[in-house]
Subunit: 476 residues, 2 copies
């Protein structure tokens, strides 16, 4: 039985996405142009993401802070490439109350400039280093299009900002945090991730280089899902962030930043969900188990309560659906909302000493004995679902990962069934621009050495000798 | 030994406050005018506050959401009293990128208008009610003065927003959440709180009435620490938030909102801290126990590790200070930072089979045997500190709570040692304005019936028959 409120994923992916977001009550368009309201089911996923990632940041020695949301225009202007990259898409505050401001302020699109000013005022000696900060905040980029979780003028994210004594330490940090993201994507979001370096053209405005984590959606479109930037001394020089090193010489610090956003929720939806609505990996699902009593009879409810107590005691997030809707309606609702496991129990089950367990990912139903250890059963099942979702996503990604050695092959892939395309590149930006003419295809990343493959000797575009393999894709 | 970086509290309270904020590295002024940077030690307190309060909100059935940060001018204008109250202090966004906006947007000073629009679009039937929402966000009010945690143009808070079928339910919610705040203040922040209703003059712009939670600082100045508003149908009518009730008639919803902010951290400082720096109640301290090895010798470190493991296993947040500073320096630093309990252990202690425990609140030191159950000892001590801080704050507040029956008495109190003044009031705003002439004294609240006292028959100001007792105070 297909959910009629949801367009088929194969028929119209964009409408399917909007339908899932609406049907699972994750988010809704707001009356404020370009802005989105995160509804309880959507925000709860963000809370779980925050809790897990925040723990990982703290384990790696980072501390949370909170910088101002406003950046004076003169501060934003201090690093030339940075301002050039961001000025076209910032929102400007020009009035406070009834008065015009002497200097206009932008709503932070990112906070390198604010952290840099703070570092310059507080860091003096190598003993003050490293500084390993993070903040969970809202940022604003004046986008034209709006799609919940993928693109909106205001969005929620975390931005890590660190400074170090040496280039080596800062470069290690840049890589470390990329790998934290990769671990989080694979182990929690069950999304296989490609990591690597952005090309010069695609790197962050103001960075020496940018690492990126790229995921492939069900429809073969890529999603840039997180980035980690190495700044070297590109901010520390104009902002004059100096420290006296171990030889008592004044030196500029080495800097990084890294971030992921609510966009990851868009990725979760487009990788795992189906025509029946949301599918969530158990490790990130706000509610893991729905217990549905088929009839609200005393012995059924007592059993439901007993199961709830056992699951809760084991740290599983479960609830009993006591609403007066029909069981069929409840089943559909919990499927739409992506609750990984459903337990059904009714008077007949009680007589037969059994209950039914339904898993959301495959929609299989299993009948098990009431004598079975339900906690262990659910724990094993959730582990199985978590792994199954990852494997299915990986299989899909591998099926949609192609190679091309010339532009004809390249274009044919992108015009029929797009995906990741591995192809060689000469290193010239002109070739990137030419490839972009194919449905906006961009270089996703230059994979690290161990992931490099030799697809051909020559650049897929110009035919000159190739320097490296690049993964290309159409992007959100 | 007094901390020399901190001005004496009795000598200059304002400087003492700034010194404690700086010395304990809680927050610092930012280069962005009117804005403050929350540093790791300060933000960690906010994280603990959030975690605890968020749990209390969820226990009372609330769900977190996230509304846009922008409010179009026309939306803000919909409720007349509300816009009149907030328009003078909002920040206006007028440009996005290089383009002027067709309609300017304000940075939310509070979000009643955004929630109201959302309710109007989503609520249809009494089955959709109640809606019990909360959000943890930044807001902006264009203040002239700046003081960390007390007053800044941007600050962090939570705002609860709910709608209900009946006035009775909404009024119960307004009171319920005030009482949640009171419980949190008394049991976690160890701050005794007076609750009651704001006068018409002091209520929230757009509310039918406002409940408030008021605390008294060490210097006798009051701090409005949280508010809970009953709106009745004052927003639901202009925003057209209707639902079909059980008789299938269209009706306007009844609405509430309630909020507390990082201002509570200012309260924590000004109620508990002393000339040696920050003092934190154990239940809200990000780090509860500092273990200081007097010498980094093997058997000392092994014992420190053993104690750390035991405390951590019991859910106590402890750490070993392994830095190469001198023990005396470490003691002073942990005192300044307000860590409730310090454990000192050195080679001589090991020989004598003992260790030293220091409590931050009274600065007492206790020598205890290594055979003692350290976990139980620390748990009992922290409970003792928590209670002691509450009792000391309550004693101080009671000492600084006065009564006045005429303006001469009233003025004398406020000009010598201010505090809470209980005095009768006729209900006339003119008397409030007259009382305000005494160092800006305002009505803090009209306490609930059970806290009412009969101080005199007549209004403290005009001498006409009194209607009610009011608690008055000078405010931050």
């Amino acid at each position: 039985m297909k959910n009629k409120a949801i367009t088929s994923r194969t028929e119209d992916f964009a409408r399917w996405y909007d339908d899932v977001v609406r049907a699972a009550k994750l988010a809704t368009y707001s009356g404020v142009k370009g802005c989105v309201i995160l509804e309880p089911n959507g925000y709860a996923i963000w809370e779980n993401i925050q809790k897990t990632l925040d723990g990982m940041f703290k384990e790696t020695g980072h501390q949370n802070v909170n910088m101002p949301v406003f950046i004076p225009e003169s501060l934003l202007m201090k690093e030339a490439e940075h301002v050039e990259g961001f000025a076209p898409e910032v929102a400007w505050i020009t009035h406070g109350g009834h008065n015009e401001l002497e200097e206009r302020l932008c709503f932070r699109p990112t906070s390198e400039t604010l952290f840099s000013e703070y570092y310059a005022n507080t860091v003096k000696s190598h003993r003050d280093l490293p500084k390993l900060y993070n903040q969970w905040v809202n940022v604003c980029r004046w986008e034209k299009e709006t799609r919940p979780f993928l693109r909106s003028r205001e969005f929620l994210w975390q931005e890590g900002h660190t400074i170090h004594e040496t280039a080596k330490e800062a470069e290690e940090e840049t890589l470390r945090m990329l790998m934290v993201y990769k671990k989080f994507f694979e182990e929690y979001l069950a999304i296989p991730a490609i990591v690597g370096q952005k090309t010069e053209k695609e790197k962050f405005a103001g960075a020496e280089y940018t690492y990126t984590i790229e995921a492939l959606m069900y429809n073969g479109v890529s999603l840039q899902s997180g980035t980690s930037h190495y700044f070297g001394q590109k901010f520390s020089k104009p902002f004059n962030i100096t420290f006296s090193n171990k030889n008592n010489e004044l030196e500029y610090v080495y800097q990084t930043s890294w971030g992921v956003s609510t966009r990851m929720i868009g990725g979760l939806i487009m990788v795992h969900s189906d025509d029946n609505g949301l599918v969530l990996p158990p490790k990130i699902a706000p509610r893991q188990v729905a217990i549905v009593p088929i009839k609200m009879e005393e012995n059924v409810m007592a059993k439901a309560e007993e199961i709830l107590a056992k699951l809760s005691a084991a740290g599983i997030t479960a609830f009993i659906d006591r609403s007066d809707k029909s069981p069929g309606f409840k089943f559909a609702e919990h499927e739409t909302n992506g609750i990984p496991v459903r337990i059904e129990i009714g008077p007949k089950d009680m007589e037969a000493n059994q209950l039914t367990v339904a898993r959301r990912d495959t929609r299989e139903k299993m009948v098990i004995s009431l004598d079975e250890d339900i906690v262990k059963y659910v724990q094993d099942l959730m582990e199985n679902i978590q792994n199954n979702l990852f494997e299915a996503a990986k299989k899909r990604r591998d099926e949609l990962t192609f190679t091309a050695t010339n532009m004809e092959e390249f274009e044919k892939i992108m015009r029929t069934q797009p995906g990741f395309v591995k192809a060689m590149w000469c290193g010239d930006e002109d070739c990137e621009l030419k490839i972009k003419e194919i449905r906006g295809t961009k270089s996703r990343c230059i994979p690290f050495e161990e992931e490099q493959e030799h697809i051909s000797d020559t650049c897929v575009c110009c035919g000159k000798p190739a320097k490296t393999m690049v993964v290309w894709g159409i992007q959100y």
